[in-house]
Symmetry: C2
């Protein structure tokens, strides 16, 4: 077990832990860190893009639970050397992204640090949260969009190469409207932050089920993290409805597997610390 999972396990007696967000009444709470030299390098993105991605990866958790993000708390550790212009750019990234999703930034903490380390808490509302559990035997497993670009672009950045400004690695593309519309047909769901195979393992554990794949998925697709596409399951009778809604929103769907008895284990090389 890697050390992150070991640490998290100390808290896993809580009924709240283990989903993209914690549900308390009609509220959903999620918190994610976005740290320099852990999640990004300063030269990869502008400060506006960094703030934007820190927000988007958190908003993605809310959407994947069929929750509407309402409020955000930001904890921002900022290097002393940053100029007022740089602070403006960073603040703008937070504000613009919040505005786009109708989120109000209600508080947080700002401190001086060696590097730029951001933690975001998103407070969302949902009448019917979509959980990681709820998948039934025979349900179909499906993801949105194309997978693989984030890993490809991460590798390019690590080699010092340039990547397109429109890369999903820079600006995750969230499919909020689509998911809210199909949510009532979905049995379980989550966003793909650690890679399709990782998330499938999580779904497998949360539902004590395995998968029968319809075709083999290469590692370049299945191990690509930070995609922030949606992975979800549904009963076969909803397939047509969901495909129709996807078509309306111009979203590609790939049905990858069927839930079956058994279990599934991800074989990607871990990107978490051991």
């Amino acid at each position: 077990m890697n050390k992150e999972d070991y640490f998290i396990k100390q808290f896993s007696h809580s009924k709240f832990i283990g989903d993209d967000g914690a549900i308390v009444g009609s509220y959903v709470y999620s918190a994610d860190a976005f740290f320099e030299n852990v999640h990004f390098k300063r030269e990869w993105m502008s400060l506006k893009e960094i703030a934007q991605k820190a927000m988007l990866v958190n908003i993605s958790d809310a959407i994947a639970m069929n929750a509407k993000p309402k409020y955000a708390l930001l904890t921002v550790a900022i290097p002393k050397s940053y100029t007022h212009k740089e602070l403006d750019e960073l603040a703008l990234g937070f504000k613009k992204t919040a505005q786009k999703f109708g989120i109000e930034i209600i508080g947080g903490d700002t401190i001086c640090n060696e590097k730029l380390d951001i933690s975001v808490t998103i407070i969302s509302k949902s009448k019917r949260p979509v959980l990681r559990s709820g998948m039934k035997k025979g349900d179909l497993l499906c993801y949105t969009g194309e997978l693989g670009q984030s890993l490809k672009h991460l590798n390019a950045l690590l080699k010092g190469e340039k990547i397109p400004k429109k890369s999903k690695f820079i600006k995750p593309k969230l499919n909020a409207k689509f998911f809210y519309e199909i949510a009532s047909y979905v049995s379980a769901g989550m966003d793909i932050s650690d890679g399709l195979f990782f998330e499938l393992e999580r779904l497998s554990k949360a539902n004590t089920l395995g998968f029968e794949f319809f075709s083999s998925i290469p590692n370049e697709i299945g191990c690509s993290g930070e995609e922030y596409e949606l992975l979800f399951s549904f009963a076969p009778q909803y397939q047509k409805k969901i495909e129709k809604i996807a078509h309306k929103h111009n979203i590609k769907l790939t049905i990858v597997a069927k839930a079956v008895k058994g279990s599934y284990e991800c074989k990607c090389k871990g990107h978490h610390f051991e």
Copy 2:
């Protein structure tokens, strides 16, 4: 203006910003960072004490708003070198403190980082939050406990000296029960995290009032941060009631000033980055 205040000012149009926590309906949200080499050095405290203090400084915000902490989200960035035993100790500090205050840890994020950086979001409930605003001309200003120890002990630690295990710098002493009992008599309040003089300046700004001091307060008292004592104002007719409740809880009260027309500016050397 220091850079922290400059950055925070970018968000100050929000009606939620500017108090110890943000009020949304009957919930109060507060988030605070507790970062290695910013708020503490690893050799100053055990991992259990570090987790405990990270929780307590956040719980202190909730108490100062007359809110009962209910849930916590933890974002914990942990050095790769930490052993399972060290992770256990850290987790125990969070869990024990949460338990003591009836808080459920409902989620967060764990990542690998160069140093131990903790961000805590506390979700509290309050029927009648105490704000920084609400102080009236003629109100008396009062703080709990003794001030000065935290600055003295911080300076000792910075010189490489030992400090007592029971120091408030290691384990802030929160006066929850006392404050909940007097809250309905309080016109404005906050906790003393950046020093009495700093907090008085905040109260001055939030209420457009100044202070007439009853005696001169030395800088060793007024500039001592991380005290987590309570600073609050009340109308003179409640003085006897409040003193009686303080006596019951064995809490020392010091009435320092009266709110008057004017404004007040803190003269301590800033400990925030310029």
